[in-house]
Amino acid sequence: MTIDSGDTAWVLASAALVLLMTPGLALFYGGMVRAKSVLNMMMMSFGAMATIGVTWCLWGYSEAFGNSWHGLIGNPFQHFGLSNLLSGDAAIFGYKAAAAGVPAHGGIPALAFVAFQAVFAIITVALISGAIADRAKYSTWLIFTVVWATIVYFPVANWVFAFDGYAAEKGGWIANSLKTIDFAGGTAVHINAGAAGLVLALVLGKRIGFAKDPMRPHNMTMVMLGAALLWFGWFGFNAGSALGANNTAAVAWVNTFAATAAACIGWLATERIRNGHGTSLGAASGIVAGLVAITPACSSVTPLGAVAIGILAGVLCALAVGLKFRFGFDDSLDVVGVHLVGGIIGTLAIGFFASASAPAAVDGVFYGGGFDQLWRQAVGAGAVLVYSFVCTGLIGLALHKTLGFRVDRDAEVSGIDLQEHAETSYDLGSLGGGGGGLVHAGPAMFGSHTTEAHTTEAGTMSSTTTSSPTNHQGASS
């Protein structure tokens, strides 16, 4: 099988674009929390890049795209350690182009597909972290990322993304039997992460002072930069999902662009009417809501359909973020309101707005296609939602009861950055952290010091390390 250089170049570039979304998400989330927990918030995303990056290479890819067992889960041993994939013979065709009636004119190397799907797994896991901001024990979070990906994400990716005869002979049930259209992951990524975020927020409980104390974003410029990077990277996410440099990719690109612009307007208009002002956080949130909603739909609607979906997502998500106060769950950064609700809107909207003139070649309700596609969309969305909710609940409870998933009260009040990472994010005053001095600088012998506590003149701040040979750059900076 020949490898098409143009397709391969686009998929590899898209993979890098999608990887950039996760640091973008870290900025987006990081700016929204208080200054005392920004580092932990960003580290939850960066940690997912590390843990899922390794997990993907070991068994993740194989579990998602190995030969599927009854359409439910890929064979985790078939490509364990990415084995049997290195030769050029392992090239695979852009199936979505073929499905769209565009003749597949070449293939991409299997490892290009591995790279592209790897970064999907990372961003999906990282998305969840926004629901449990300011309070999750970092070690438990890292363990959660691996367990959750293994039990929830990899199987669901198999259901949704693994087409028969593409990466393996047998693919997943949603893609091949149910035939839900989910081009780039409205179900597997956004509904999945949103449902997981909801149940984790319930397991961990509310932050101290939720809905009482001010918890306003500490740095809106970071949020805006993060939203911009997400939008940029999302072109890789959606247009890259064509798995080729072709018309499908171009349609997906423009739809991604149109829906996102419309959603920004929708969110701002909602705020202007409800609160009197369009806010910068509203613009950033509207952008993300639009990106989420168009993700499943970007190959199956026209640009006008994309604008309609974008406006719907902007307005409905702007309303949905208020639900947590009504129902009293602390989904801190609105993973539910934006990703779960946006993912459901986008997945169901295909049933209405799909047009046979788009590459996916399916008509929805509004284009005379009847309700056939709509019920497939609803069943696909519901299946992923329920599976993610139940499994995440069990994983979350198990980790919470054994390892503990929440930092203690003092750490949460004084700031999780200091407790979990022995760092503080900002050193804006000329006094710096204040007092003290360099206590120890590496390289050090392991175990050369055990416990230390420093007191600054401004109050007590103790950093305790057990037996690590780390650099302690001064008492507090």
């Binding site: 609160n275 002002h277 973020v321 609105d334």
Partner: protein
């Protein structure tokens, strides 16, 4: 000697500084402060959630002056800082027992 402390709106700092210089005051200490008086704070809305922000950014200006100048200096600051709208700030004075200039060791009024 007396310490004159003024809490003013941040954007009025330059006018206050110029007025004090014109009066003949040769130095001052300025720091950022936050707080509220009768005007209370303002509200901010994030994703539809409205937060009341009570502590409004202010600037604190401190000047140590001779007893006989204290009342005039207060009025100089007051005129320069006044907008007539709520949140203009407060000015007060307290007695100062002694002052020393660090560079020369001069004491009392000579150190001002």
């Amino acid at each position: 000697m007396r310490l004159v402390t003024a809490i003013i709106k941040p954007f009025k700092l330059d006018e206050v500084k110029q007025a004090l210089e014109a009066y003949g005051i040769t130095g001052m200490t300025v720091s950022e402060a936050s707080g509220y008086g009768r005007q209370r704070g303002h509200s901010e809305v994030y994703r539809g959630a409205e937060y009341k922000v009570d502590f409004v950014p202010k600037v604190r200006v401190e000047v140590v002056v001779d007893d006989v100048d204290a009342s005039d200096v207060m009025m100089v600051i007051l005129k320069a800082a006044q907008t007539g709208r709520i949140g203009d700030g407060k000015i007060w004075t307290v007695p100062v027992e002694d002052v020393a200039r660090v560079r020369t060791g001069e004491r009392g009024l000579d150190a001002l």
